[in-house]
Amino acid sequence: MICAGVDIGSTTTKVVLLQNGEVLAAVLAPSGNLPGRTATRLYTETLAQAGLSEKDVDAVATTGYGRRLADLGDLVMTEIKACAAGVLFRQAADNPIHTVIDVGGQDTKVLALDDQGEVEDFSMNDKCAAGTGRFLEMLAHKLELSYEDFVAEALRSETTIQMNATCAVFAESEVVGLLARNVPKCDIAAAAHQAIAARISSMVRRVSQRGAYYFVGGGARNAALVRALAEQLNQQLIVPPDAQFIVALGAALGARRKLEGRVEKR
């Protein structure tokens, strides 16, 4: 049985193909300004690369901000449910996950899972940039660094300075001021990561205080952020190697579950 999950995010679109519990393909592309079209194109491309056609796919699910923009398949689910499904699939049996942190490009989500892996509570920060990947992008740009260099600099830093600004826009002006005082870029980068980690950890504490902690989304690929967040939460964070694809994987699992449910009913 082959199932597919398509995560149409605001920044990137991800497609995951799942066959009998094995990931056949996991592909990512920027969403662009027409996410629906991007998703459809990416989906067909991924299938072609895997040597499959649409008929071979038994069930498709879409998720993410643009989940209704592409008319791909049977099931539409929220990224919250998809994320939980993906995490449940991936978690080790002896170390159940109870808190999931998803730092995306334009929003950040924290999920609290119960013992069965169902979503007990969740919180989304999608109104303010200060706490999302966007914040770091903006500051990297201000420091005239590429995103990768920005992260590398942050990892290099050994001193901790404090950034005061809570708002991403004001943070930009604060960075200018720090540069003028000859604060090294690595320290600024590290401080930026600490600031965002502080906001995220505050959000986490409001939602859930149970381990184990799982970190997914684009932000999870930022080693400096992982380190800062682990420090702020004083917890170990589990980061899967394909952190950005967990939600799409969860969507595929959701499609499979629904299909199995229908088969059972018959």
Binding site: Y65, M77, T78, E79, I80, K81, E118, V119, E120, F122, M124, D126, K127
Partner: protein, 419 residues
């Protein structure tokens, strides 16, 4: 006259603004919401009458004065008994928030801002009112009273901080009596006992109809959308002739009851609680119904709860009548402006049990600390009892509609997880 609650030494000439752009935007919002509603498949035949009352403009009959008021803690029977019509001045138009903000502070709730904006236009409802009655149910309203006193004769009804009759019944009764004296003075009429009793009987009739409509709806939510239900209820405090309203609503009830209980798959039944949802701010209701759930009951002062309890009077002495009014409106209110939230909690839990709801959605207006802070205990108490709960904290603007949709959909997914 202003009941001498405000110092006339410092009266300020009211400044009227007539921002035509804001008015156009406001009308656009109303049209958009009406379009949303037009998509409903099943609407009562006479819903047009109710829409007309709620959309306006207010049809002011000659000789019938209007008394504007805020909140559901004002005994409106007094206004009816004096031959006037009470009109709720709460406004739900997001386009009117900005004009209000230009004059008042931005740090108050959108309801206060947009309601105040209606005072600023020449053909706004408040201008047509003989007087305005405002309870001290929140800080914004307290200070709004002072500002509005320069526009129309204003009466502030002082609510007790606790719903404790042993301590505060006398205060509340005195306030109700004082309000009646004020209104009688302003309108130049005498309040007679039999008129008050007749008004109480009218509003009792309204309670009967709202209860029947709510029960009929719950058996078959598809027969009447919660949005139409809210329009019907809000039409009764938009200055309509109450007798006509009773007649029209009876027709709606027969239609809904004739549809009978539903035999098709029921959508997720929810209890809605929280801050006022005034026309045309039906965003939360639109979202809930579009996401595939149904509000089967509510505790809103702009929904069924507002008309649910009748005024019950056993004796007909003046003091018994004031007490009956005060106890129903002030001491039985589930409003969070009182320090104990027990009345509201009991109501929510009772509704969940009675209507077999599968979840509770709390609607909170941003910048309202009363509803916001109650969420802390409300969410924990519902969690203890394993009742799924979602908090929708937002303001009037439509820009966060999609974010709210995701939250609601995710919530409904967890509620439906059991099925």
């Amino acid at each position: 006259m202003t009941a001498e609650q405000f110092d006339t030494r410092y009266a300020v000439a009211p400044r009227f603004a007539g921002d035509p752009a804001a008015r156009q935007r406001a009308e656009l919002v109303v049209r958009q919401q009406l379009q949303h509603l037009a998509k409903l498949t099943h609407r009562p035949g006479n819903i047009g009458w109710f829409e007309k009352q709620v959309v306006g403009p207010l049809d002011q009959r000659q000789g019938t004065p209007l008394i504007g008021y805020f909140c559901n803690t004002i005994p409106v029977e007094v206004a009816y008994a004096l031959g006037a019509r009470p009109v709720q001045l709460g406004c739900g138009n997001p386009a009117l928030v900005q004009p209000g903000e230009e004059v008042l502070s931005g740090e108050i709730c959108p309801l206060a801002k947009s309601s105040f904006a209606t005072f600023l236009t020449a053909d706004g409802t408040p201008r047509k009112c003989a007087a305005v009655v405002i309870p001290t149910s929140c800080d914004a309203k307290k200070k709004l009273g002072e500002i509005v006193a320069d526009f129309r004769p204003t009466f502030m009804l002082n609510l007790p901080p606790e719903q404790n009759t042993a301590r505060y019944l006398r205060l509340a009764v005195a306030e109700v009596e004082r309000m009646a004296t004020f209104l009688a003075d302003v309108l130049g009429r005498r309040l007679r006992r039999r008129d008050l009793l007749a008004a109480i009987e009218l509003t009792r009739h309204r309670s009967v109809l709202v209860r029947r409509l709510q029960t009929a709806r719950a058996a078959n939510p598809a027969a009447l959308s919660v949005r139409d239900f809210f329009i019907i209820i809000q039409a009764s405090f938009a200055g309509a002739d109450l007798t006509e309203w009773l007649h029209e609503t009876t027709r709606v009830i027969s239609e809904v009851e004739a549809a009978g209980p539903s035999h098709t798959h029921q959508r997720t039944p929810l209890i809605l609680t929280g801050a006022p949802i005034f026309w045309p701010n039906f965003k939360p209701l639109n979202l809930i119904e579009e996401c595939g759930a149904d509000v089967v009951a509510d505790t809103l002062c702009t929904g069924a709860q507002s008309c649910f309890d009748p005024v019950v009077c056993d004796e007909h002495s003046w003091s018994a009548l004031w007490r009956a009014l005060a106890q129903r409106y002030i001491f039985a209110s589930p409003c969070p402006c009182f320090i104990s939230q027990a009345t509201r909690l009991s109501r929510i839990l009772d509704l969940v049990a009675e209507f077999k709801a599968e979840g509770v959605v709390n609607y909170g207006l941003r910048l309202c600390p009363l509803f916001d802070m109650e969420v802390y205990r409300l969410s924990r108490i519902l969690k203890e009892r394993r009742i799924p709960f979602a908090n929708m904290r937002t303001d009037y603007s439509l820009e966060d509609t999609e974010q709210l949709r995701v939250r609601l959909e995710a919530f409904l997914e967890t509620v439906g997880a059991g099925t």
